[in-house]
C-alpha cells in the first residue's frame, strides 16, 4: 500500500472528506492530522448552547461513519510546512508525512484586534476550549461584557449573554447596523430593534482604538475616546485562514486557498481543498472565487473534492449556500446568496416587526431568501429553496 491520502485538518471538513473518500471508492490509507486534541465536533453550539451551559462536549462530537473506522487520526499535531512538488508535509514534531493525495482542510482561526492593551479578559469563540473559558467569565456575578463585532457570532454571543443574566452587554461595530454586510439594511434594522428590546446595547459606527487596564482588560476605548467599562471582551471580528503551512508552493493564498471548479489546488489533480479555507468559484453564480463560512460547506465541498481526488468525472461545484443563526428566541434562515442581491431587497411576505421573509435580487432575479422569526418564516423560506435550485447559472 502506498502513502495514501493525508487530510490536513481534523474538524468537520476533515472528517467529511475522509468519509466521502470511502464513499467515492478510495480503499487506501487515510491519515487525518489536526492540531486540536479533540475528535471532530460541531461548532455552531459553541456561541449558544455551550456558552449557556446546556451542551456538554460529548453532545458535540460527530459520530464518524463505520466506513471511516480505519482512518488514522493524528490529533494534537500541527502541520507546519509542505512541499507539494515532492508530495509531503512536515509536522511540528519534526516528522515528514508523504502522501499520494492531500486534502487541505485546515480551516480558519479568529482574527484578533491588534490595538494596544492587555490580553487577559479578551476572548474569541472558535474552539470548545474558547467557549468554556468564556462561559467561566460570563457567569461571574456582575460581569460587564463588550462584544466587538456585530456579525452573526457577535450577535449570538450577545443574545446568549443576556439570557444568562449578564447585566451589561454592549456590541461595538464600525458599521451602522448589525449583520448589515451579509444581510443588508432592512434586516439589519429589524435585528437591531429585536436585540435592543431584549437588553443588548449597541455602540455602532465606531471602531475600537484600544483596551484599558493593566494586567487584565477593564474597558474598551472607542475611536472617539469614549471608554466602555468591561470585565469581559469578546472579539468577533472575522477570521484568518490557516494556510501558512502551504507557503512556498507558488499557490494563491491571498484569502484562503484558491481552487478551481473541481476544488483542485494549484492545478494539481492530487491536491484538493474543503471547508471554509477553500476559495472556490460557484458555477451557480458569477464564477468569482469566494470562501464561504457556512456550516453546510464542509459537507458539500468534501463530497465534491473526494470525487475529484479519486478521479470521478463530475460537473463543476455549484452548491446552494444555506445558513442559519439562532439569536434570542428567533431564527434567521437563509438560502442562496443574499449578499449578491443586497441592492434590491424586497419583502416577500410578513413584516419586519414579526415573521418576515425577505428576497434579494440581482438584475431583477431572485438570488437569495432570508427568513427572520419563528417556524412560519422558516417554512416560507424553504418554499423558495426549490425555485433557487432550479434557476440557471447567473452568468448564463
Amino acid at each position: 500500500m502506498g502513502a495514501g491520502i493525508v487530510v490536513a485538518g481534523a474538524s468537520m471538513g476533515g472528517l467529511r472528506a475522509a468519509e466521502q473518500l470511502r464513499a467515492a471508492g478510495w480503499t487506501g490509507r487515510i491519515t487525518v492530522v489536526g492540531d486540536e486534541p479533540h475528535m471532530p465536533y460541531n461548532r455552531p453550539p459553541l456561541s449558544k448552547e455551550v456558552l449557556a451551559g446546556r451542551a456538554p462536549f460529548a453532545s458535540l462530537a460527530f459520530t464518524p461513519k463505520a466506513s471511516a473506522a480505519d482512518v488514522e487520526w493524528r490529533l494534537g499535531a500541527r502541520i507546519v510546512a509542505s512541499r507539494l512538488a515532492e508530495r509531503n508535509v512536515s509536522l511540528d514534531d519534526g516528522s515528514v508525512l508523504p502522501y499520494d493525495g492531500l486534502v487541505v482542510a485546515t480551516g480558519m482561526r479568529p482574527r484578533r484586534l491588534g490595538c494596544p492593551g492587555p490580553l487577559t479578559g479578551r476572548h474569541t469563540v472558535r474552539t470548545i476550549d474558547d467557549a468554556q473559558g468564556l462561559r467561566d467569565e460570563l457567569t461571574r456575578p456582575g460581569a460587564r461584557v463588550v462584544v466587538v463585532g456585530a456579525g452573526f457570532i457577535g450577535c449570538e454571543v450577545a443574545a446568549t449573554a443576556v439570557a444568562l443574566g449578564v447585566a451589561e452587554v454592549t456590541v461595538v461595530d464600525p458599521l451602522p447596523l448589525p449583520m448589515v454586510g451579509p444581510l443588508g439594511e432592512l434586516l439589519g434594522r429589524a435585528l437591531l430593534k429585536r436585540h435592543e428590546e431584549r437588553g443588548v446595547r449597541f455602540a455602532l459606527g465606531t471602531g475600537v482604538a484600544g483596551f484599558a487596564g493593566e494586567d487584565r482588560v477593564t474597558g474598551v476605548v472607542l475611536s472617539d475616546g469614549t471608554v466602555l467599562e468591561a470585565d469581559v471582551v469578546v472579539e468577533s471580528v472575522g477570521s484568518v485562514a490557516n494556510t501558512e503551512w502551504l507557503d512556498g508552493n507558488g499557490l494563491d493564498l491571498s484569502d484562503g486557498v484558491l481552487t478551481d471548479g473541481l476544488l483542485r489546488v494549484g492545478g494539481r489533480p492530487e491536491v484538493v481543498a474543503v471547508g471554509d479555507v477553500a476559495r472556490f468559484p460557484n458555477a451557480r453564480y458569477d464564477g468569482v472565487p469566494r470562501r464561504v463560512e457556512h456550516w453546510s460547506i464542509p459537507a458539500d465541498t468534501a463530497k465534491h473534492a473526494a470525487r475529484t481526488l479519486v478521479g470521478t468525472e463530475q460537473a463543476p461545484f455549484a452548491p446552494l449556500p444555506t445558513f442559519w443563526s439562532d439569536q434570542h428566541e428567533f431564527r434567521l434562515q437563509s438560502f442562496g446568496a443574499p449578499a449578491l442581491g443586497k441592492d434590491d431587497v424586497r419583502i416577500l411576505s410578513g413584516d419586519p416587526e414579526g415573521d418576515v421573509l425577505v428576497g434579494y435580487h440581482t438584475g431583477g432575479r431572485l438570488v437569495g431568501v432570508v427568513a427572520l422569526g419563528g417556524h412560519a418564516a422558516a417554512t416560507g423560506a424553504a418554499r423558495y429553496r426549490a425555485q433557487l435550485l432550479k434557476q440557471p447559472a447567473l452568468t448564463a
Binding site: 467529511r16 460541531n42 453532545s59 459520530t63 459537507a299 439562532d326 412560519a376 422558516a378
Partner: protein, 62 residues
C-alpha cells in the same frame, strides 16, 4: 434500515426533509415526522440527511 432521531436535540431546521423527503417531513406546526424503518434503497439519502442535520440528531442503526 433503522432510523432514530433524538427529539431532544432536534430543533426543526428541516435540512433532512430536503435531503430525504421520502423519510422526513414537517407537520403543519413545523415539527419533524419521520419513517423509522425506511427501505434500504434510501440509505444514501438518509445518510445525507444525517450529515446535514445541524444538531446531528439523526442516527442510522442498520
Amino acid at each position: 434500515m433503522k432510523v432514530v432521531v433524538d427529539m431532544n436535540k432536534c430543533q426543526d431546521h428541516g435540512q433532512c426533509v430536503f435531503a430525504a423527503p421520502d423519510v422526513f417531513s414537517m407537520d403543519e406546526d413545523g415539527r419533524l415526522l419521520y419513517v423509522p424503518d425506511p427501505d434500504d434503497a434510501l440509505r444514501d439519502e438518509v445518510e445525507e440527511a444525517a450529515d446535514l442535520c445541524p444538531l446531528q440528531a439523526i442516527r442510522i442503526e442498520d
